[in-house]
Symmetry: C2
DNA sequence: ATGAAAGCGCTAACAA
DNA sequence: TTGTTAGCGCTTTCAT
């Protein structure tokens, strides 16, 4: 090791009072000149490395030293400076969350799961909303992995191809939520969409329905395709024909539920039940049915998908396939933190079960 | 000026190859060893202070130097490290956003306004959701002002008393959204709730209604009180009695719209119109009215407040008082950034106008 | 107009 | 088990 300048000289040269504005640091903008690890060290009578050890729960600290440091921390109201910590090579204790939009209960519930788990782990959340502008996804992702966050959560990403490779190459931790990923090696948390579609359809068939209308979601989403396949499989398994006229292509928004139902009801041989690929469209269906002068469930049965909070509040309460949305968020965080804490962690795919929730919007068909 | 150690010696002593793991820094976790200001400086043949000047758009940089640096930045794909910047006394370029929940269109629209403005200003957003647990508000606020963010946005805070003083004392920039604040010196962005309540009521009166039911929001919120006052003032101004039986106390959730309407319709002398303090309750009202076998608007007129996206999508489309929610968010960001950029900025209160949106849920009363 | 250097608060390697 | 120190990448002052 070569000889370096003696750092001690710095301290010795220090005038008692700082006469000039110190270089670099501007005088903190807001008043609050926060307590640092140094203040704590002084208070506890230890070196500041020891304080760091205590703060980071490292081993090799005598328990009474730890005690003393902890006390100093409390009495001084010390809070670590995340930026410094992160700059020094530690964690940033923040994860990025990339979503399309926030106005729906669907997103609300997922985000609730995410931020509850995250705050339990003392992590911060950086939010990025793309508003469906695909370019933004890539820009955000590039910023995010630039040291700002320790990991990334992507809900229903639309432009994966543009950055998944970068993410994988740099081994940056991430988890997709409600998206199948590009292949089996992508870490994802998804639900049993096919089974949900199957279960709802079978339920209607078992009630006696023979003509069941189906409203799809956006068909470029794998989940939408799976729900449709589940519906078709249930029909097939019960020997019912798959009449393409009964399938209406929607995009998960309420007005399409209304329009879809209208279109199905105008069919020469209309369905006796309508299965909408999400609750929001089911609400549109309910309106259209009522506006057509029909009653739910006596004239027409309606079933949804998601089980958002509103589903139990409409009249009649909506029978639907519950997705464990909040759990989806919690599970994603669990997986992400596992990868952050251990980059060697093998990649997992978590599949959570959907559940048929029977309420009052379905009944046996009229003429049975 | 006292003589300091010659920093140049550092460089001269540097062995050609680093033989040991450098202290402090762990080898970056993920592969990506990002380009720094130093790399750019070397590439452009300037000192790294100059690069900093260029990046921060400071004056005193010859334009061809600037040119050269910019080119180096592009060719190297350099992105500033926010943590380092913030640690060195600059901005963190992040603002904190504290909300109750995210599942509603109300919040969705406000947040959209916020994050569009923020991303236009190259700011990041740290999200904190309280889920209505008041203790969390204070904890979050304390963390947030600890250097993590440059400012704070609070939507409908519930526990202001616990930290507003801290915020003011440290002169930390913040803006309240849709909340009146503790006094006139609190920076807020609000809407004309009283006027909105007045306008909607006057509209119904002018249609010929004499008995108008009113569903309040949570009465501990000033906005709810104002809407109610506006309603009462309109009645008074038009010589109508303020029958307390016609006022039902709700809490802004849909089931209370349903229950409230049921209760009003059961009155010996039921109203011919119902004014709900938000759209979500108005949807509940619409259901209850229909379930009572009445038609909208021929039997009963219904009017809401907020003008969330769904309001135009239900049948019949809901007449309502529009709040410029997205603009609320944009305006709050504008005010916040102004204060961040100039702490001397006088405190402003912004009041945005509500607008009556006439759709098809109101008509003249039956017996007129 | 540019460069030199201090130091923001912290983590982790190394020494003791 | 604890202390010492380098250095993370940057902003800003001072000197030139």
């Amino acid at each position: 090791m070569q000889r370096r300048n003696n750092a001690m000289s710095k301290k010795l040269e220090q005038p008692t009072q700082t006469l000039k504005t110190p270089r670099g640091r501007r005088p903190n903008g807001n008043g609050l000149s926060s307590t640092t690890i140094m203040d704590v060290a002084r208070e506890a009578g230890v070196s500041y490395a020891t304080v760091s050890r205590v703060v980071n729960n490292k081993e090799y600290v005598k328990s009474d030293t730890r005690e003393r440091v902890l006390k100093a921390i409390t009495s001084l109201g010390y809070v670590v400076n995340q930026q410094a910590r992160s700059l020094a090579g530690g964690r940033s204790y923040a994860v990025g969350l990339l979503v399309r939009d926030l106005g729906s209960s669907y997103m609300g519930e997922i985000v609730r799961g995410i931020d509850e788990s995250l705050s339990a782990a003392q992590y911060n959340l950086m939010l990025y909303t793309t508003h469906r502008r695909k370019i933004k996804e890539r820009i955000y992702v590039n910023n995010l992995i630039q040291g700002m966050t320790d990991g990334l959560l992507l809900v229903l990403p639309e432009n994966l191809e543009a950055y998944l490779e970068t993410l994988d190459q740099t081994n940056f931790p991430y988890v997709l939520i409600d998206h199948q990923g590009l292949d089996e090696r992508t870490p994802v948390v998804i639900t049993t969409n096919w089974q949900g579609g199957y279960d709802a359809t079978r339920y209607l068939i078992e009630l006696g329905h023979r003509r069941i209308g189906f409203l799809t979601g956006m068909m470029d989403m794998r989940s939408s395709q799976d729900r449709l396949s589940g519906y078709q499989a249930a029909l097939r398994d019960h020997g019912l024909p798959a009449d393409p006229q009964l399938v209406y292509e929607g995009t998960y928004y309420q007005p399409e539920g209304y329009a879809g139902a209208q279109s199905l009801l105008r069919l020469p041989e209309p369905p006796t039940a309508i299965f909408a690929s999400n609750d929001v469209m089911a609400f549109g269906v309910m309106e259209a049915v009522r506006d057509a002068g029909l009653r739910i469930p006596s004239d027409i049965s309606v079933i949804g998908f998601d089980d958002i909070a509103q589903a139990s509040q409409v009249a009649p309460p909506l029978t639907t396939v519950a997705q464990p949305l909040e759990q989806l968020g919690r599970e994603a965080v669990r997986m992400l933190l596992a990868r952050i804490n251990n980059p060697e962690q093998p990649i997992a795919r978590t599949i959570l079960p959907t559940t048929l929730i029977i309420r009052q919007s379905c009944d046996v068909p009229r003429n049975v």
